[in-house]
């Protein structure tokens, strides 16, 4: 095996997943629609006043993004598990963590990225001040890959369970708390005109750590799940 064929295999995997996502739009549109519905119902259900919304807005957008990601995670390995493709990847001569990383890239491109693009519109709906929108997008850009990466561990552990969705949520929601806290703190700081660099740097550190270590943990979990 050489570097060239490894790169080609990972590229082919990402391409395949994107092609499948394109063919079955429901799968990646679901989380996005969920995100948009939740975020747009809040001003209706609470109040359209800017003061109230500015207090709730960052939390609402982030909780909606987090739950939308959670919604998509159950399917991360499920289809590949059911049709036997996952076995084939486990038996390929390429390192399993890198294969998980490629799956994560495809997952983020189909769930995280649409959320990121929809977020500024949601921010306007929730009447977030203009100054905070850039920070919101920055926290989502750093934070949604963290959600995908940490979630992959839970998805790998529960892939062989028929109804793993609930267990998956219980397993990984506690691990999502730090990202949620720092992201919403950063947006709050931006709304109040304070420095956000510190919060964003911590989110960045979480991103680096989770992208480095989560694929290793998820790969080990996949081997256990398929035993």
């Amino acid at each position: 095996m050489n570097q060239d064929s490894l790169g080609k295999a990972l590229y082919a995997l990402i391409r395949r997943d994107l092609l499948l996502a394109y063919r079955s739009r429901g799968e990646w549109l679901n989380p996005l629609v969920f995100f948009i519905i939740v975020a747009s119902l809040f001003p209706l259900a609470t109040s359209a006043e800017q003061q109230v919304l500015a207090l709730l807005g960052p939390g609402v957008i982030w909780v909606a993004a987090l739950l939308a990601t959670l919604l998509s995670l159950d399917g991360l390995f499920r289809a590949d598990y059911e049709d036997g493709s996952l076995e084939q990847w486990l038996l390929s001569p390429y390192p399993l963590p890198l294969i998980v990383l490629a799956k994560l890239c495809a997952h983020w491109l189909t769930t995280g990225l649409p959320l990121l693009i929809a977020a500024p519109v949601m921010a306007v709906l929730l009447r977030l001040p203009d100054t905070a929108i850039a920070t919101l997008v920055a926290t989502l850009a750093l934070g949604t890959p963290v959600l995908s990466a940490i979630g992959s561990i839970g998805a790998a552990l529960t892939v062989s369970l028929r109804r793993g969705g609930m267990l998956l949520a219980l397993l990984i929601l506690p691990l999502y708390a730090p990202a949620l806290i720092f992201a919403t703190m950063a947006i709050d700081a931006a709304i109040h005109g304070l420095q956000t660099t510190g919060h964003l740097l911590i989110l960045g550190a979480m991103l680096v750590l989770s992208v480095m270590f989560a694929p290793l943990a998820a790969a080990a979990a996949l081997r256990i799940s398929l035993d």
Binding site: M1, S5, A9, A12, L13, R15, R16, L19, L20, R23, S24, A79, E82, D83, G84, S85, E87, Q88, W89, L90, L91, S92, P93, Y94, L226, D227
Partner: protein
């Protein structure tokens, strides 16, 4: 010369002992035919040999080395076709074969050889079970590897399909390949060294 060896394998299913102290060995140019009734552990044994499942006790050796320790080399020589053939229903035949890992060779020729009436650009979800199985079996011609592990390769195939697969197996073995397979009808491989392992006989 390649050699696959399993030493003293033990398999528990819950509290129930499927098999123990099972040793098999397979050398280049040989076929190992695993037979036994449903639930005897044929698939489990094949998954152990492929390295998907860990045996309760014992070890699987590839050229004298435990497969856990030489996974990269071992997997590079292994073609495994299990119950679930690893075919994506949402992709066409060509896309499936092109995007599967570690493929080389002429996809069109492989499909032509195996498939009666399979068109390359047909989406797989329109194909019958037997046709899907044929698409999966195309990997035998497209993935290089000395060791084939085939779990019920004849399922859903018609007589002509079985003949084609048996010819492929015979050809592979003649070229110093190795094949491990299970099936309910014993393979009719003329002039091929077939070893048998019977599970659940006791």
């Amino acid at each position: 010369m390649n050699e696959l060896k399993a030493q003293d394998l033990e398999c528990l299913r819950g509290d129930y002992l499927l098999f123990e102290a099972l040793s098999v060995s397979l050398r280049a140019g040989e076929v190992l035919y695993v037979e036994g009734p449903n639930g005897a552990g044929k698939t489990t044994l094949l998954r152990m040999l492929a390295g998907l499942s860990l045996p309760e006790a014992g070890e699987v050796l590839w050229n004298g080395e435990p497969i856990r320790r030489c996974r990269e080399q071992y997997n590079a020589e292994l073609v495994y076709i299990g119950h679930q053939p690893g075919i994506k229903a949402g992709l066409s035949v060509r896309e499936n074969l092109r995007l599967a890992p570690r493929l080389r060779g002429d996809i069109e020729a492989a499909v032509e050889h195996l498939g009666i009436g399979i068109k390359l650009d047909e989406p797989v979800h329109t194909l019958s079970a037997g046709q899907r199985r044929r698409v999966a079996l195309c990997r035998l011609m497209l993935q290089p590897g000395a060791l084939w592990i085939l779990d019920e390769p004849y399922t859903a195939l018609d007589r002509r399909g079985i003949e084609v697969v048996e010819a492929l197996i015979a050809q592979h073995v003649a070229a110093d390949g190795m094949v491990v397979l299970t099936s309910h009808q014993p393979p009719t491989l003329a002039g091929v060294d077939v070893r048998r392992v019977a599970l659940g006989a006791a």
